[in-house]
Point group: C2
Chain length 332, copies 2
């Protein structure tokens, strides 16, 4: 069973996906494959994944063979399935939908034990290009509304495989977190006639107490109301609602800042487990004056428990000013 | 520093509380105190906690001494502080507020190694009475808007102490999760002139495929759009928006169902880590026709990772119909 169901109270959608229960859990996987590799994502094992959707490889090197520097494949244990029609159905008062969508794995590097923080900034840049390429491609599928790209790194952050990778889940409905952001940002815009992120960036760059690092066109800040210790947001300094419209210079600049955050976080917290995700506009949305794409980086150093789940309130023991100052210094 | 800060995009509040960083972490605490007790919550150690706020103890037994069956004390490492005035302030475009609130610990039993599931249902009933007593008392403090009562059981669910306990955090602002529920429920009510929870209960009890257990006046269901495997909601069958107005018969009936859920969950998942929390009306709110109090019980068996954080979408590998059937059987 793969289906989407809607909570009738809050409107929150969930994916009920029994196929995910079959995927190798941390321990079972680690028991089967040596910690140091090679694993199914390593060069030479291309045949163990479904055929590649995209790969960055030297001109002429054969598909689904070694030689690539980055590779995108369908997830073998998908949360959603790309085949089939999108069917919507009522079950008494409840609403459900067939589990149509895409679930892809972006293998960041051929090196099993590498990490984005240690690899040259070029790897981060390639990764952002892959995000752009996949969003642009998936945009053509009119069944899909949002492409959520995220990274789980380390078991504590939900990673089940060690080999560096990101994931992309494209959804046939909007996700609540981005909807809430867009609505909140629209509310601010209607009040002020300005983008809330642009205002935030302006204040942060002028106060300079929560800036973690910056490049020519991007900045990373520990947000004023950070939920987690050392949480950092990477944002374009100039207004832009769609990440995937970034040009080559912008991709390079964004990669520098994201890489800078990961490198500093790794130094300060001794290579912590972490998540990041890209918040950009929904697929096929025209440019919005009120929304601003960004990447949120969240080290997994605190436990989200009953209070956070029950209230959606967070308790953060490290003020973002301290986090930013520590991370800033780590880059010197 | 203890202060509340608001995210200018989504309106989500966070607590920045550096004092929490001082509290004993799982491992450090376990290293200091023997796993089997006695700990600071055990009888005989009453002097190691701040003075009790409430205790259920035989008539005449002295305060802050042994003899109690349930005891409520202030948290020694509070996320919020009960002293001081509620001051609200702008910081450029940002909003903050002094960290005024209450943070209490409800020690459920004198027995260090007990669990609600194993203890007689009377312990669960006493616990619900303590929830009621504390909410009723805190309601008199006009600075406070919401009392969130929750339980973290097991390290994986965020518990830092083994001795069975719940916590209460009373907040000077509404929490987003309950606001979202109330707003969603109001939206439904405006459309249908009926409470969404009442409709849900009616359908669940008539279909009987997601009912976990029931008593004379309460029912537990695995919700149609469950986020987590074996997630269960305890709800009064008859409409009621305020838990704290429950009478003695209702408290007994609610305790039977909550205890039944915990007992079944413990049997099916082999004593898992879990959270539960009470969602009731904000403090001092008149009865609402559209909202319905309930307790959400969430076993901590899956990892919330980048996708869930970035999208607020959840992937649940166990259909609630299966979870309910398994739990129902476990009670026979």
């Amino acid at each position: 069973m793969i289906e989407l169901r809607k909570d009738p109270v809050t409107g929150r959608w969930v994916i009920i996906s029994t196929e995910r229960a079959l995927r190798p859990a941390d321990l079972r996987y680690d028991a089967a494959a040596p910690k140091d590799g090679p694993c199914c994502f390593c060069p030479g094992n291309e045949h163990t994944t479904p055929p590649e959707i995209l790969a960055y490889r030297p001109h002429g090197s054969p598909r689904n063979g070694p030689g690539w520097s980055l590779r995108v494949v369908p997830n073998r244990f998908p949360a959603l399935r790309v085949e089939g029609e999108l069917q919507k159905e009522g079950v008494g008062m409840f609403d459900k939908m067939s589990g149509v969508g895409a679930h892809e794995v972006i293998i960041e590097t051929p090196e099993h034990r590498a990490s984005l923080a240690e690899l040259p900034v070029k790897s981060t840049e390639d990764l952002l290009w892959a995000f752009r390429d996949r969003i642009t491609d998936l945009e053509r599928d009119s069944r899909l509304k949002y492409a959520m790209i995220f990274k789980n790194s380390g078991a504590r952050a939900g990673a089940t495989l060690d080999h560096p990778h990101c994931q992309l889940i494209a959804l046939p409905v909007m996700c609540r977190e981005v909807s809430d952001e867009i609505q909140g940002a629209l509310h601010y815009y209607e009040f002020k006639e300005r983008c809330v992120f642009c205002d935030m960036i302006k204040q942060e760059m002028s106060e300079d107490v929560r800036v973690v690092t910056r490049s020519s066109m991007h900045v990373a800040v520990a947000p004023f109301a950070a939920r987690f210790p050392f949480e950092s947001w990477v944002m374009p300094i100039r207004h832009s609602s769609r990440f995937e419209l970034s040009d080559a210079d912008e991709m390079k600049s964004a990669a520098e800042v994201l890489h800078g955050v990961l490198r500093r976080m790794s130094a300060v917290l001794d290579n912590p487990a972490y998540n990041f995700y890209l918040h950009t506009s929904p697929l096929r949305t025209p440019a919005m004056a009120h929304y601003h794409w960004h990447i949120e980086v969240l080290p997994a150093v605190t436990t989200v428990a009953g209070f956070e789940r029950g209230s959606a309130f967070y308790i953060n023991p490290v003020p973002p000013e301290e986090a930013a100052a520590t991370m800033k210094k780590a880059g010197v």
